[in-house]
């Protein structure tokens, strides 16, 4: 058990290395970079002091060196002007646009992103699983039709539109401030109880909006999977044993139908991050989605690179987790049988 996991971790590290190279070179593909553009701008307006600072940054981050050297310095495999200082050493670089270290810019956004998206994932499962079980066991009834219809509506409604409507009514009925993840008055406050309460209240709308499409899709797939499993002979065996119907359902067909969803966990996280950019913009959520978009647009290379690496890391960790759960759930995989 330990050896395969170690092997996986080594593969993951190599994968991350390859991804980092791809990410870096793709970001560097357009001609020029943030600083050279900025210097040209500054020269035109004649601000000598700022130009000097920009040139200092260029030297400090080695932007005057060849691209491959910049890459190696960025990931921390080659000493830069200030020694080894890259991703491997925990230095995530400098955001030129915000004129702050990337860590400071991204800081809160990172864990808020994780929080929102994990809440959405939990929401998806908590709603979709019971709905799918109901729908599958009451096939072709009015209840099934209602669940199906709601599912399709959820799939079809554009998230940002729903977000606007929900924001409006949340503000009108519950007096919730519009946008953001907490009341704007609390922005620079420490994380105390009123701020956390404000955060929880503001989480409801994004969770609903981000999770809705996923919920609808999951109900459809889970229902189809369950229907397949319900027709299998071992389900009949369970009934013939005298098991109460719900207990039989949860122990046998439901567990069998879980595999594809567990296998999906790895894909779910990055999908939620990139899929929620639009919603984040509309709701002005302080998540990494909009930051990434800005960084890519302005060629803020360290910032964009770091966020992309973060998403890639999340994906790999998610896949490792889903594989480990699969091994734990399914003895056929555990024992390497067919």
């Amino acid at each position: 058990m330990i050896v395969p996991v170690l092997r996986r971790v080594v593969t993951m590290a190599l994968t991350l290395l390859v991804i980092s190279a791809l990410v870096f070179f793709i970001i560097k593909l357009p001609p020029g970079d943030y600083l050279t553009n900025r210097i040209m701008e500054l020269r035109a307006t004649g601000e000598a002091g700022s130009v000097a600072k920009a040139e200092l940054l260029i030297r400090q981050y080695g932007l005057d060196r060849p691209v491959w050297q910049q890459y190696l310095m960025w990931i921390g495999l080659m000493p830069g002007p200030v020694g080894f200082s890259g991703l491997l050493q925990g230095d995530w670089g400098w955001s030129f646009e915000y004129d702050k270290p990337v860590a400071d810019v991204v800081g809160d956004a990172l864990w808020l992103t994780l929080l929102i998206n994990l809440t959405a994932v939990v929401f998806v499962h908590v709603v979709a699983i019971p709905a799918a079980i109901y729908s599958a066991t009451h096939r072709h009834t009015v209840g099934d039709a209602v669940v199906t219809l709601l599912g399709y509506v959820g799939l079809a409604v554009p998230g940002f539109l729903l977000a606007l409507i929900l924001l409006f009514y949340a503000n009108r009925w519950f007096d919730l401030s519009i946008g953001g993840l907490y009341d704007s008055a609390l922005t620079n406050q420490p994380w105390d109880w009123p701020k956390i309460r404000s955060l929880l209240a503001h989480l409801v709308v994004p969770t609903l909006v981000i999770g809705l499409g996923g919920t609808a899709a999951m109900i459809r797939r889970m229902r189809a999977n369950l229907l397949d499993e319900l027709a299998k002979p071992y389900t009949v065996t369970a009934r013939a044993k005298g098991l109460p119907p719900m207990r039989a359902l949860l122990k046998y067909p439901f567990r069998m139908s879980l595999n594809p969803f567990v296998a999906d966990i790895g894909n779910l996280l990055p999908h939620l991050v990139s899929g929620s950019v639009l919603v984040s913009l509309v709701l002005s959520l302080p998540t990494v989605g909009p930051l990434l978009l800005d960084a890519l647009r302005s060629q803020d290379q360290f910032m964009a690179g770091f966020i992309l690496m973060f998403v890639a890391g999340l994906t790999l960790v998610g896949m490792l987790i889903s594989d480990l759960i699969l091994v734990w759930l399914d003895p056929r995989i555990r024992m390497g049988a067919r």
Binding site: V3, P4, K232, P233, Y234, V236, T237, A238, R239, A240, K241, G242, L243, P244, P245, R247, K251, Y252, R255, M256, L329, D330, P331, R332, M335, G336, A337, R338
Partner: protein, 613 residues
Amino acid sequence: MSPLLSIRDLAVAFRTETGPFEALHGLSLDVMRGQTLALVGESGSGKSVTAQAIMGILPASASITRGKILFRDTSDETDIARLDTEGAAMRAIRGQRIAMIFQEPMTCLSPLHTVGDQIGEALRIHTGADRKEADARTQEALARVGFPDPKRALKTYPFELSGGLRQRAMIAMALILKPALLVADEPTTALDVTTQAQILALLARLQDETGMAILLITHDLGVVANIAHDVAVLYRGRLVEAGPRDTVMRAPGHAYLKALLHAVPRFDMAPGERLTPIRPARAEIPPVQPLAKLAGPLLQVENVSKSYTLRSGRFWQKPRMVHAVSDLSLSLAAGETLGLVGESGSGKTTVSKMIMRALAPDSGTILFDDGSGPRDVHGLSGDALFAYRRTVQFVFQDPYASLDPRMTVRQILSEPMEIHGVPVAERRARCRELMAMVGLEASGLGRYPHAFSGGQRQRIGIARALAPRPRLLVLDEPVSALDVSVQAQILNLLKDLQAALGLSYLIVSHNLAVIDYMADTISVMCRGRIVEEAPRAALFRHPVHPYTRALLAAVPDPSLDHPLDFAAITGDQNDPTRWEAPYLLGPDEAGAMRAIEPGHRVRFSTAQDAEAA
């Protein structure tokens, strides 16, 4: 004494899109305490519906429309037909007083839960036993059904077990609460003949020990003759014949039962006797040019070996090698049929895959003669390989899984011709011709496979194999997934096609009676080796090798005069170290084939020769 279970005037109807369909029309029968009632009939006769009604597990679209199912377990009498199927009263009976075992021991057990968990579950829900007590009782039950290591079996998963052990686990699960009635729905149909004999012996022994009654649902009259006390014959939802086994089997009154007795291959058939299908089908085979005569055999397999590497669970262990086929030789003459017999795991399928060139042998050659002289199949490439692919076709065991449900019959039949470049106009004509050849209407070409019955689907599978005009058909258990009423049709069709088209068949089966009916020469395989090969008549008249004899002895015969000798069935017939001398082989000994009469060769041990030399 009153019967344990009395069914009176039971009718079951299904809701269908075309209105209600009655599957049982007023069935009445009695199951006596401690006795076995065999319920016989073809698929669609209503026998499984009867079992489901007794268990209260009818599909959602079916319901009991009238009649009673009276269950007299204790002094009082319960009418199961009136109970709420999901209510507490029915659940207390189901699994506790009436238990059931099914046909497919693989799919009836959940692959995600251990055997111990699934067996002990019935005990936990009905008696409230805790896990420890349930484990102890489960271990006892596993020992009673003959598990070699019951303690270990608790922790094993169904996919780690052989088919026979899985069915034993199912039986242990059904019997752990000592039910008064066991409903067994085709319990041995999916098993090898030797395993079937063991399971039948086990059921008979457990009945003696516990005094339970068995309602045995089967289409196999050989099984009926061996373990039933009473017989009831169902036909299209009606009881057509019932009574004590001896009366019914010796003097069948109803035409259907008589027909059934003549529709299955038997060992005592006269040479050249044809099976009489219950519903004859007419096939029209157009005259064809006879194939060119060959100087030698059509197919010659020479000293072929194939082993697989099993991935072991722990990385520091050496991977295990499994010798699926060892030093195997076969020869098939043009226009003849070679039967390959053996239990599951004997390597039959590996051999057929190597002939199809779906697997490469580790050593040895497979020679095929398409009229231009023998050539090594595994040395072919390019056009020669493409031509070979056309010449050898495969007929699958499962007609449900082997036809694409999204293709019409015309598309299914046209595809092989399309691949081999037959022009469109010719393809259309050939499709109609193929349908006539297998006895189907040309109007069926536009339909999808689900519109056809199992037997008709198997005809489509045969037509597909014939489409590119092959010389050799590899038939992998061609009738074992089919209902007894259509097996005769398919076997006769295959014989007629062979006679008219000059085809050669390699037929792979564990059913000795089918092989006996079809084959000219027979090779018996055990653990990857041929142990005996002979012309059909010689093998069945004078079987020599202990393995062949064990296989033959395990076939249940419908005639009451040849009962199975349950005591002689040990289950170690495929262990070469347990064979009697001079056939006994040491752990790594290969032995050698020797002729005992012309064409009849048997594998003997060579250990004595070595000592003598």
